[in-house]
């Protein structure tokens, strides 16, 4: 019988990877670098503009140029480039790559053929120029957009990012909930991880599938009940500290001249990319 990673091991691996990612990005966000020093509100606006530029641009080379800009920013922000490139592109072939692959061929994207792979009287299989372009567009757009989003998160501690979201006119209550949910997500992740570990350490051999499903339903329900219970306690704790249902946020951001300079430069580049 071949050894297979069971659902417990996979869940533990997924949860641990998430925790690791979060800790690693907090570490990077506290380094001294270009983007770390940029005002978070300016960062939110410029990165949204750059994301829009990647989405709006109709030139492949322009999207590539925007990627090099992203790499440059990452380098100046002391993000390890190998890690930054790998994190985005390593799994790209398995997800968007798989989606984009069939689009290369004339079956899905009719157009001028550049490479004919199979030609009989009734059947013709070829890679078309249009197909090649559309697949490249998709892969590049997704890759560069993910890189941009990743870069903004890697260079901003999440508490600061949340505060900066306020300028997008999101309601305070929504930001408050987002912040609390993020914090408690880690607590629940740890709890879930312990549940899986405890189960794994008590399991010898293979369990029947039905038993596994019953167990996972029970642990998910327990986690649900814990979340509810915790929410009651958190509410009481908030109440005893004077919470009246209104969210107030301390806003201590100050825009420096360098923020204006970088913000204007990045916005101009984004605009240029769209117009070109």
């Amino acid at each position: 019988m071949r050894a297979r990673r069971g659902f417990i091991e996979r869940s533990i691996a997924d949860i641990t990877a998430t925790l690791e990612k979060a800790i690693f990005s907090e570490e990077l966000a506290r380094k001294e670098g270009l983007l770390q020093n940029l005002d978070p509100r300016m960062k939110v606006i410029t990165f949204l503009a750059l994301l829009l530029a990647v989405s709006l641009s109709q030139g492949l080379l322009i999207i590539v140029a925007l990627y090099f800009l992203t790499l440059l920013l990452a380098w100046r922000s002391r993000i390890p480039l190998g890690f930054f490139i790998k994190r985005v592109w390593l799994f790209m072939p398995f997800f968007t790559g798989m989606v984009a692959l069939p689009a290369l061929f004339n079956i899905f994207t009719p157009g001028e053929p550049i490479v004919t792979l199979w030609q009989t009287e009734r059947f013709h299989l070829a890679i078309t120029i249009q197909g090649l372009r559309t697949a490249t567009f998709l892969v590049l757009r997704v890759g560069v957009s993910v890189s941009l989003a990743l870069l903004s998160v890697l260079t901003t501690p999440w508490a600061t990012l949340l505060k900066a979201l306020h300028i997008l006119r999101l309601p305070q209550v929504f930001i408050l909930i987002l912040g609390m949910a993020y914090r408690y997500a880690f607590l629940l992740l740890h709890t879930a991880n312990s549940m899986f570990l405890a189960r794994q350490s008590r399991t010898v051999g293979q369990m029947p599938g039905g038993e596994n499903r019953r167990w996972i339903a029970a642990s998910a329900s327990t986690l649900l009940a814990k979340s509810y219970h915790l929410s009651q306690e958190v509410y009481l704790a908030m109440l005893s500290r004077g919470f009246r249902g209104e969210a107030q946020m301390l806003d201590t951001f100050r825009l420096k001249p360098s923020d204006w300079l970088w913000g204007a430069t990045l916005l101009a580049l984004a605009l240029l990319a769209v117009l070109m």
């Binding site: 869940s11 989405s55 069939p102 899905f108 120029i129 559309t134 957009s145 989003a149 609390m180 649900l224």
Partner: protein, 340 residues
Amino acid sequence: MHIPDGYLSPASCAVMYAAATPFWYRASRKVKRVLTARMVPLIALFAAFSFVIMMFNIPLPGGTTGHAVGSTLVAIILGPWAAVIAISVALAIQALFFGDGGVLAFGANCFNMAVVMPFVGYYIYHWISGRSELTSLRRPIGAAVAGYVALTIAALFTAVELGLQPYLFRAADGTPLYAPYGLSVAIPAMMGPHLLVASVVEALVTGSIISYLQRVNQPLLMLTTELPAEARERAVASPRARILWVGLAILILLAPLGLLAPGTAWGEWGGEELRELGLGFIPEGLERLGGIWPAPIPDYEVPGLNANLGYILSAVVGIVLVSLVTWLVSRIVVRQSTKI
């Protein structure tokens, strides 16, 4: 299911943000009216829970594993409006901090998983479980069916959003600029794996958790009934309104009948058709202005799709748009009249 940035055009992203916004607005109003202070940690914890549950690998019969979304479960326990906020927050954490789902596509992802899914799931659950006892078998069955149908419909919405891209956004040489596959490819490609695997996982998780709670923690199943009546949304406004919706659904299904009728609706001729009708001259203004407004779905035909399906789809798109606008206008009018 999580659409990354790059698959949808910015215009489509804007449309999906616009579609999700009234739900966010209404949900925050509703939550605010009901026990603001208590709802804040409750929704936050449930958002955290749905974030974590999306990471559980569920063992499936046959040895594979899959992930659940959990929107239906949260909707059953908290009610659909609170679920809209909780799931949106979970999706925001995924998109912002873990790059799962795009930032521009956040509106679309929220519409599919945080609006469509909780509402469909919630109403199906209540439709099947009805006024049955808390321990009745109808509840876990209702939950499982609700989970299955809700995720499948959410996947259908995702497929339609992706599948519309190549019809709307192409470069001059015919290159699709965003998601490259039309509806005839996108819908089967999304629906197949969902009908067979993902929705099964959702059904399993939702049904078995409700069944477990029946045995162990019944108060959690009564959470929505504890909240003041305002927080509970009745199935559809009234029995009369329900008849209207059923009628609308029948009309949609009958829409392809229009294909049987020859010719064009009386008085809706274009320049070409006037010429065919034997009109000697075409008014100059008609000739000039005829092409000024290219319809998004000309002749109600969606290219690459069977004519009947295309007709039905056009009907659904149209009705959703009209209902949305009507609802928004009525909200604005009602609010203004109550101010006076």
